[in-house]
Symmetry: C2
Subunit: 246 residues, 2 copies
């Protein structure tokens, strides 16, 4: 008959751990000897090893407690599957860690930084560039592949003088009064150009989660009442979809 300390050392846990398992009903309280010490049969070693194996696998104690011979088989299958996905996750995290170690502090691909660096020469305001930079950061941080698609489209758009002027006009519209009729005209031109370039759907939007688009749009609208008005008008003309200008 073992004392609690002996039992614990056998299995490689602390005595507190054993007492916790008693309190939670995982391990039956054994009898006491004359001086009130717990005395364990050898079976307790087996029980405790079983509990530790499951606990090490990440199974919550409450779930271990509720295991019965009846549900054991299916539960174990589930636990094993969870463990397999956990291992896969950890491997993915390791890969991400290495990126973090390698490309320290560079959140945007070099081409994007180059693109942003070239914008002042084209006549874009510092405010516009800062906002566009933020949008690229969010997009690349959360959806790198989609961001790449957008980015290629964007750089290509800027080679067309008509489209470039449209972007510049949007930039300048930031400080217009929201009721300025200029905005109406600008919205018309943007819608026409958008339809000509993409059809009735902005690029990439139909195939992806709409919330990200809404978030981007919200961030843009926040910075200027005129832009917000512009967005409202464009959405009215294109039917339910906004255009971020990116």
């Amino acid at each position: 008959m073992l004392t609690i300390g002996q039992l614990a050392r056998y299995v490689g846990v602390s005595t507190k751990t054993v007492r916790v398992y008693h309190a939670k009903g995982l391990l039956p309280e054994p009898g006491r000897d004359a001086s009130g010490y717990r005395r364990y049969p050898a079976q307790a070693v087996v029980d405790l090893l079983r509990i530790r194996t499951l606990a090490d696998a990440g199974v919550p104690l409450a779930r271990i407690r509720d295991l019965t011979p009846a549900n054991l088989g299916t539960e174990l299958k589930q636990i094993d599957a969870d463990l397999a996905t956990r291992i896969k996750q950890l491997r993915a995290i390791r890969a991400r860690l290495r990126e973090l170690a390698g490309g320290e502090l560079r959140f945007l691909p070099a081409e994007v930084d180059d693109h942003l660096d070239g914008l002042p020469a084209l006549g874009f305001s510092a405010r516009w560039i800062a906002m566009e930079r933020d949008l690229w950061i969010i997009l690349y941080a959360t959806q790198p592949d989609l961001a790449d698609t957008f980015f290629r489209d964007q750089t290509q758009s800027l080679t067309d003088p008509a489209l470039r002027d449209l972007y510049l006009a949007s930039d300048q519209a930031h400080d217009l009064d929201p009721t300025d009729p200029e905005l109406e005209a600008l919205a018309d031109r943007i819608v026409a150009a958008s339809i000509e370039r993409y059809g009735t759907e902005p690029p990439g939007m139909s195939s992806t989660d709409p919330t990200i688009h809404q978030l981007l749009q919200g961030a843009v609208n926040d910075s200027s009442p005129a832009w917000q008005r512009l967005d409202t008008m464009i959405r009215g003309r294109l039917g339910r979809h906004g255009v971020t200008g990116v």
Copy 2:
């Protein structure tokens, strides 16, 4: 500029998590808008993703907070190494889980059960058999290979009539008075047989952790004052080592 909910959804965490990171100093508190809402720059998305990557790797938040560009390199190397060992552990646990699923409820190898089943016919008491069974369970649960060595030795011992009589005499000694001179004589016979069979060291003991032996011995001694006395005498004659009878 993002609200806390937008930021959280981008990165896939709860708003509470973001607030906790503020409280713990991992993420700087951003400015507030007119109504007191937190407003985040895009940079916060990048910061938060970095924190989550590390947290997902199992790094405690306090340690993430204390990362500086100076110690980042070495820390990341350490974290990656920890992650690698963690993955290895999980794979080992998976293997143990499968054992648990396969050999449900059988804690002793079939030969050991057979051996125990044969003991009553040889004249061993139920008490002795129960005790021996417990010892095998503990030994197999914690040190299967050592247990196998011992077991093979034990079954072989029982084929020798002289040794078998010695075990039977030990069994019966359980109820003797601790001062009975019989014990003295029995101790002498056990020591002689032990030295003849193993030399001055009990088998396997010299090469292994002594604590396991002491625990086994303690468990045996507890059940009878006579056995305890017997153990003391044997240890005196063999010099510091006990004999478990197994």
